[in-house]
């Protein structure tokens, strides 16, 4: 059974049709990269997966639980779907370690010490132990994003969603964040990643989804996608992005 | 007192109208005077010689930290002492509100002047303008334009504040309603009615300011 299953999803913002008949799936342990031009609906699609955006038609199941159905315990579902944002979205008034423990305590009901131990071990994993008692505003962008990934991991997620995790970063910081994500992938985490980092896609992804104007135009294995994309749009997009 | 009786409103309308006229006059005079005086205060503070700048800052801060009612009482007491003869509550109110609102308008104009980029003033000087020309022709028009919604909002507050002339017995809308209420022995209806008038005027004006602000947001 697929970890994330997206079937015929349609979404409108008012009269604007953002997502058109989107269908795809992410298997357990699979890494799927979503790419496409700006405004094509990538962020919207990924936010639909954990119910941050409602959608009007179609179905999304995460680990067998339907997201769009009324009555689904969304907070509970989200608590084990990790999400990483373009602008990190750490909570600025809490220290780094508090960022990592607050939801463990308040959502999962873990004890203080257990939460703190878990948080510290994850900070160690992303190489930021010495920043535990700093505030996010005192960290660089790359460090903040690594903390954000650790914060998501602290909830023991069954899968992770990334929305352009490196596009707000200075070039010299992109590498450190991608390295953390690469490690995660190698450990078998199920990941859905919106990114324009084609190097990451080539090295780590199993499949690539290409979106344009709200439609999924390509949904292929990495080899197929980088070999000969079937749609013209994807070819133009790729040539533009790779020539950078 | 018995159930509400709104028939008393009709005969008192002319009287209330006179009161409302005074409220509006007071607002308009204090607005024009206050903006002119306030702009001068802001200029003195921003680019005047040190003593003038300090004096301006002190005046503004003083006015802004005393309750308006106290300022009204102060002026009503002190003006006759200075000019040597009693003045009517209405004249006293006009002087008070102009002087008081100048402090608030001055803060708005100061922010407005500072919102105009340094480059604009530079460009003016580069064209050979004097300080006065530069302010009058380049900086102040832009400052005024940028701050128009805020100036108008302050004026709505000013209009509401004029009701405080009650403290010295000047006959504005509220005082008129007060008197009419006593004459007809219907204070409840009269207070309610004056509240409705104030609300309708202020609500419509602030709706207008909101629309203006939206237009500005697009223009920027």
């Amino acid at each position: 059974m697929a970890m994330i299953e997206i079937r015929d999803v349609n979404k409108w913002f008012g009269r604007f049709h953002v997502l058109v008949d989107c269908t795809s799936a992410v298997d357990k342990g699979e890494v799927v990269v979503v790419c496409g031009p700006s405004g094509s609906g990538k962020s919207t699609l990924i936010k639909c997966v954990n119910g941050l955006e409602p959608f009007q038609k179609g179905e999304i199941h995460v680990n067998g639980i339907s997201v769009g159905t009324a009555g689904t315990d969304l907070p509970k579902l989200r608590s084990h779907v990790g999400m990483v944002f373009q602008h990190f979205e750490l909570f600025p008034h809490m220290t780094v370690i508090e960022n990592l423990t607050i939801a463990q305590e308040k959502v999962l009901g873990r004890g203080r010490d257990a939460a703190r131990d878990k948080g510290l071990s994850l900070l160690d994993r992303v190489g930021l132990t010495e920043f535990a008692d700093k505030h996010p505003g005192q960290l660089s962008g790359g460090q903040q994003q690594r903390v954000a990934i650790a914060r998501a991991l602290a909830m023991d997620p069954i899968c992770m969603l990334f929305d352009e995790p490196t596009s707000a970063l200075d070039p010299e910081m992109i590498g450190e964040v991608l390295a953390v994500m690469q490690d995660l992938a190698r450990d078998g985490m199920t990941m859905m990643v919106v990114t324009h980092e084609m190097g990451f896609a080539r090295n780590v992804a199993h499949r690539v989804i290409f979106m344009d104007q709200g439609r999924i135009l390509e949904d292929a294995t990495k080899e197929e996608f980088f070999g000969t994309p079937r749609s013209e749009r994807a070819q133009t997009f790729l040539s533009k992005i790779l020539s950078h | 007192m018995g159930p509400f009786d709104y028939t008393v409103l009709v005969p008192s309308l002319p009287f209330l109208w006179t009161g409302l006229q005074f409220s509006v006059h007071l607002t308009l005079i204090a607005m024009s005077g206050g903006i002119v005086l306030g702009t001068l205060l802001a200029l003195a503070r921003l680019s005047g010689p040190k003593p003038l700048s300090t004096a301006s800052a002190m005046y503004v801060d003083l006015m802004r930290s005393i309750p308006l009612v106290m300022v009204i009482l102060w002026f009503f007491l002190v003006i006759p002492l200075i000019i040597g003869k009693p003045v009517g509550a209405e004249y006293s109110a006009i002087i008070t509100f102009t002087a008081f609102e100048a402090a608030y308008y001055s803060e708005i104009m100061r922010a407005g002047i500072q919102s105009v980029s340094k480059g604009q003033a530079m460009a003016g000087y580069a064209l050979g303008m004097t300080y006065g020309q530069n302010m009058r022709l380049v900086v102040l028009p832009q400052a005024f334009r940028n701050m128009l919604p805020v100036l108008l909002t302050q004026t709505i507050i000013l209009f509401q504040d004029t009701s405080l002339v009650y403290a010295i017995g000047a006959k504005d809308l509220l005082k008129a309603a007060d008197i009419a209420g006593k004459n007809y022995n219907r204070p409840v209806e009269m207070y309610l009615f004056s509240a409705v008038i104030y609300f309708v005027i202020c609500f419509s004006l602030s709706a207008l300011v909101k629309r203006l602000q939206k237009r500005y947001a697009v223009l920027r």
Binding site: - | M70, L73, Y191
Partner: protein, 245 residues
């Protein structure tokens, strides 16, 4: 016009009484502080609640909050005092109305506190709303994405930051409460402004009277300001740049 200065006036006895004018001023100061602090608490609680509600996805609650703010913002405070004092008791059921008019203890004080509290709550609601809306949209999403419920997201993520952001405008609002409490003289609360007018008439030493009262208002404003700045410094977030004061 001549003016007879008499700086000892504060210690003189009032006409036909045993108290000194100073005791009038002290009473006035006490009532001013009492009304201001009590209505400030009402305003914080209600304003915080209404301001927060106005940022939720609940349409009807947002409308209600908007109406609340518009209502209290577009009627002069003095008129509101009259409404609460003269009009509202008439709208109550007969028995309650009679009780309020004839028996309610500290009628002026309670009326003034409720009036000023609700008036200020509308202004605080506006600031709280602006504070929450000024946070990046992603903060709300990040809270929800971690499994927080909407109330938890407000409690742990949005409100703590919003409160810090609105501290400077709240400071001036706190100072405003003291200034606005002066309007309560009109319904006969024995606060500073009431005492100022009474002492002025009784002693005919207007300047000395108003000067003392003005100084007392200054003290209120100053202490209020220091308190808020102290809170601001205590809650400052390291590395987070707030707008310069």
């Amino acid at each position: 016009m001549g003016y007879n200065w008499h700086w000892g006036i504060y210690f003189d006895k009032i006409k036909g009484g045993e108290e000194t004018y100073l005791s009038w001023l002290i009473t006035g100061f006490g009532w001013t502080v009492a009304i201001s602090l009590c209505s400030w608490i009402i305003a914080l609680v209600l304003g915080g609640l209404i301001g927060t509600v106005r940022t939720t996805p609940r349409r009807w609650a947002v409308r209600l909050g908007d109406a609340w703010v518009e209502l209290f913002r577009n009627i002069p405070l003095l008129v509101q005092f009259f409404l609460w004092f003269f009009v509202v008791p008439e709208l109550l059921p007969e028995k309650l109305s009679l009780w309020v008019k004839q028996e309610m203890p500290a009628k002026e004080f309670i009326t003034a506190t409720v009036c000023l509290g609700l008036f200020t709550s509308a202004r605080i609601a506006e600031q709280v709303r602006a504070g929450i809306l000024s946070l990046p949209r992603g903060q709300r999403l990040a809270g929800l994405a971690m499994g927080f419920t909407l109330p938890q997201t407000y409690r742990y993520v949005l409100l703590p930051m919003a409160c810090r952001i609105i501290l400077p405008p709240l400071t001036s609002e706190f100072m405003n409460v003291f200034k606005n409490s002066s309007v309560a003289f009109a319904i006969g609360v024995l606060e500073l402004t009431f005492q100022a007018r009474q002492m002025q008439e009784d002693s005919e030493q207007g300047i000395e009277t108003y000067l003392a009262v003005t100084v007392l208002y200054f003290i209120c404003a100053f202490v209020a300001n220091r308190m808020m700045v102290w809170i601001e410094n205590r809650t400052r977030v390291p590395g987070y740049i707030t707008a310069a004061k």
